[in-house]
């Protein structure tokens, strides 16, 4: 109902557009305002970033960072109507809205505005449909409508502070973003947006009325580009909110750390550096005289430092072990893969270690980056998962097991390629040894992690094993590795077979890791996007095709080579 009212309002109050530059002064006091979103108290900077990523798939707009963008949206809304911030992945949605646009791209609110009535209708009809029967266009319509209405609420968030604007005194019509003002009503803590608080009027305690007027002063100061007044008003606001909360409810050092983490964007930097490491390594193989391998190793190491800082910062900010959600499994497995690669590089296998580490790090950080577009990656934990002890043991060990199997599979590709280029060469045999070790590492940690999961389940739900899909997935990895080791022991497979089997283990890992989430049952099903499902399927098919083509060819060449030798 609320969305309908908002859309009805929308049709009336579209202000005109006049251009003005972004704030020429420091937005630090704005960045460190505390916002409550999805149960977490976070700096405005993170809120802005998540919002802009969710809208546009990027964390900056025309060189402006997300906080600067959000400040413009809420303080000087008219200036942002032409900003191209709404990413539309399915152009059919534009056609359905009756607005121009042939391709996937980013569009401004002003551009989409004439079609919003139709978008609203489409989105609501789509939302009424069963989730499984919705198509791509329906889902995109819902997403776009959700984003546009969030933006619209932000446009009107500070209307009460602008002279000449009508602000509703009815709390139901007040935009509920961003939630800046805590109130304590039993049984739960609740946070109001400035507009909601304003609409409550004289029923508010004096301290909150003061806070609202401070926010209004900040709006004025921003519009008049008066840096000192802006900082003074927002800092006074933050102090007042903090005084009303329990001591320690907002840790200032963690806010600073989070803002620094946002600005550094360590995982993105690590991703780029890993990519560079891989390029340098490939170049070094082509041009051995240039001695590029040392530089590749240096790159991998420096990417690893960013990566490690990112992990550590998140642990400090959330007071959590490194892995608590699907996003963090990607980041952590990438990290563990780099650790294994670095260890291998240090332990004789220089080039192979760098290659395996850089590929694992790069691939999973890219997936993590995609996944982070869905919203805050530091979400609160649901009650079932809320146990630091088990998150630190079960989840970490099982992720290490995944990393071991993935690295083994990557080396498996190298072994097969080496066998294709030079059958029965010493190079392939020597590459196969670290593959064997990585697979053993993967099997051992998957076993330990699975057993710890069983203990967690027994402690918390009264059963050690329940054939939950995620448990089955882990069991499948174990079975896959166990088959390989026993077949190898019996002498039925050599290193080509082991290499092919390691690639099979990667498939088992990705199925166990997020394939079972696609089935959507059980305790571990934490939602997954359909685009990811297609990517996963494409990956599995590509690997199977690779195996089907390369392994028989390998065997043939191998036989030919051994015939030659015996002749």
């Amino acid at each position: 109902m609320r969305k309908i009212t908002i859309l009805a309002l929308l049709a009336f109050c579209l202000p005109g557009h006049e251009a003005r530059a972004a704030a020429p002064f420091s937005l630090e006091p704005f960045r460190r305002l505390v916002v409550l979103e999805q149960g977490r108290k976070k700096p405005m900077d993170t809120f802005a970033r998540n919002l802009l990523k969710q809208f546009s798939g990027r964390s900056t707009l025309d060189g402006m960072d997300a906080s600067a963008w959000l400040a413009r949206v809420i303080f000087t809304p008219q200036e942002t109507l032409e900003d191209k911030i709404f990413l539309v992945n399915q152009p059919e949605v534009l056609a359905a809205m009756g607005v121009e646009g042939q391709d996937r791209g980013r569009f401004s609110f002003a551009h989409l505005h004439p079609g919003l009535g139709r978008l609203h209708q489409l989105a609501f009809q789509s939302a009424d449909q069963d989730e499984s029967s919705r198509g791509r266009v329906e889902n995109e319509a819902i997403r776009l409508f959700y984003n546009v209405s969030a933006y619209y609420r932000l446009l009107n968030a500070f209307n009460f502070a602008r002279p000449g604007e009508e602000a509703s005194r009815d709390p139901r019509n007040a935009p509920e973003l961003p939630a800046l003002l805590p109130v304590f009503s039993k049984p739960d803590e609740q946070w109001l947006s400035p507009a909601q608080a304003f609409a409550r009027g004289s029923s508010l305690p004096a301290s909150m009325q003061k806070e609202i007027s401070l926010l209004a002063q900040a709006v004025q100061a921003y519009v008049q580009a008066s840096e000192n007044d802006f900082a003074r008003a927002l800092d006074a606001f933050s102090r007042s909110v903090r005084n009303r909360l329990q001591p320690g409810a907002i840790a200032a050092d963690k806010l600073f750390l989070e803002i620094f983490y946002n600005r550094l964007d360590p995982f993105f930097k690590a991703e780029l550096i890993y990519g560079l490491a891989m390029l340098l390594l490939l170049l070094s193989l082509a041009l051995p005289r240039w001695r590029l391998q040392r530089w590749a190793r240096l790159c991998l190491l420096s990417g690893f430092l960013f990566h490690t800082f990112g992990l550590a910062a998140r642990m400090l900010i959330m007071n959590r072990p490194p892995v608590t959600n699907l996003y963090e499994t990607f980041v952590f497995v990438a990290w563990a893969g780099v650790v294994i690669g670095l260890l291998m590089a240090w332990w004789q296998k220089q080039a192979l270690g760098i290659l395996a580490g850089a590929i694992t790090g790069l691939a999973f950080l890219v997936i993590a980056g995609r996944y982070s577009l869905d919203g805050d990656t530091m979400g609160m934990l649901a009650a079932v998962l809320d146990s630091n002890l088990w998150l630190a043991t079960h989840v970490v060990t099982i992720s290490l097991g995944y990393a071991g199997c993935v690295v083994a599979g990557i080396i498996g590709h190298v072994v097969i390629v080496q066998e294709l280029l030079a059958p029965r060469s010493a190079a392939a045999a020597s590459t196969a040894r670290p593959m064997y070790a990585a697979l053993a590492f993967g099997l051992a940690f998957t076993c330990i992690g699975t057993v710890m999961g069983g203990i967690w389940a027994d402690q918390s739900w009264g059963r050690f094993w329940g054939w939950d899909p995620k448990e089955n997935g882990a069991l499948l990895i174990i079975i896959c590795c166990a088959i390989l080791f026993h077949a190898r022991l019996a002498g039925w497979i050599g290193h080509i077979g082991l290499a092919a089997g390691s690639i099979g283990a990667i498939i088992a890992v990705v199925m166990a890791w997020f394939g079972v989430n696609l089935l959507g049952v059980g305790l571990h099903a934490y939602g997954f996007t359909s685009g990811a499902a297609r990517g996963l399927l494409a990956f599995v098919i590509a690997e199977i095709l690779f195996l089907a083509a390369a392994v028989p060819l390998c065997k043939k060449k191998n036989r030919a080579a051994s015939n030659e030798m015996s002749n």
Binding site: I448, R463, W467
Partner: protein, 267 residues
Amino acid sequence: MSINIKRFFSRFFRFLASLKLTVVSLLLLGLLVIAGTVYQAENGMYAAQREVFGAWIIRLFGIIPLPGLLLISLALFINLLAAVFFRLQYRWRQAGLLLVHYSLLLFMGGGFFIAVTAQEYFLTLHEGEESNVAIRVGAEEAQLEQNQEKVTLPIKIKLLDFEKTMHPGSDIPRSFSSRVEIVSANTRRRAVISMNRPLRYRDYTFYQSSYAEDGLGGESSTFSVVRNSGRWLPYIASALLFLGLAGHFLVMLAAALKNSRSAKVRP
């Protein structure tokens, strides 16, 4: 004649302990786990337990009989037992791997013991209600109340209050907990059962399982009640597995260090 019989038996035991049997059983087990997971996604956890994971024989498309999980597990168990007796080498180098295989025997044996002996019930209480009658899991699917298998627990549980808290400003549950009173023959004591913190009473364990709101402000809480006298078995098996893996890792590490040292010295 006796030579023939002897030869037959030695061949038979060699087959039972063979790697061939291991690999074939593991392959079948893997396929069955995949099939069972897919079946479960379509037909639910309980049906999958009954038709696949708790079955000796499964019938593909209702006709073609195939070995079920129990049969394959039995084959693996016998294979493992025979391997432990006849095939595995009792040397210090192999000590870790031996422990790992023993732990697997204990996991499978323990799992079978628990599957046969452990019982799981549901106990649903409204706020203020006191009861010691729980319903067998799976039986709640029975349409008629008299068909539900019931059991009387040694203690009565009274639900004083159920509390659900959410992370503020979100729909993410922060905690579920039930304040209860435990009524045994001559004592009454208060306790809290919450997510990840069960209540244990002798060999019974009470877990916070689900809740319901009746729309009038009243709440009910459902506990899963597990009676499992073999609960400690997987713990011992886990300890053996950890020890075995750690031991084998140390053996391998020592060998690798020795190798790399001698490799460095020799050239």
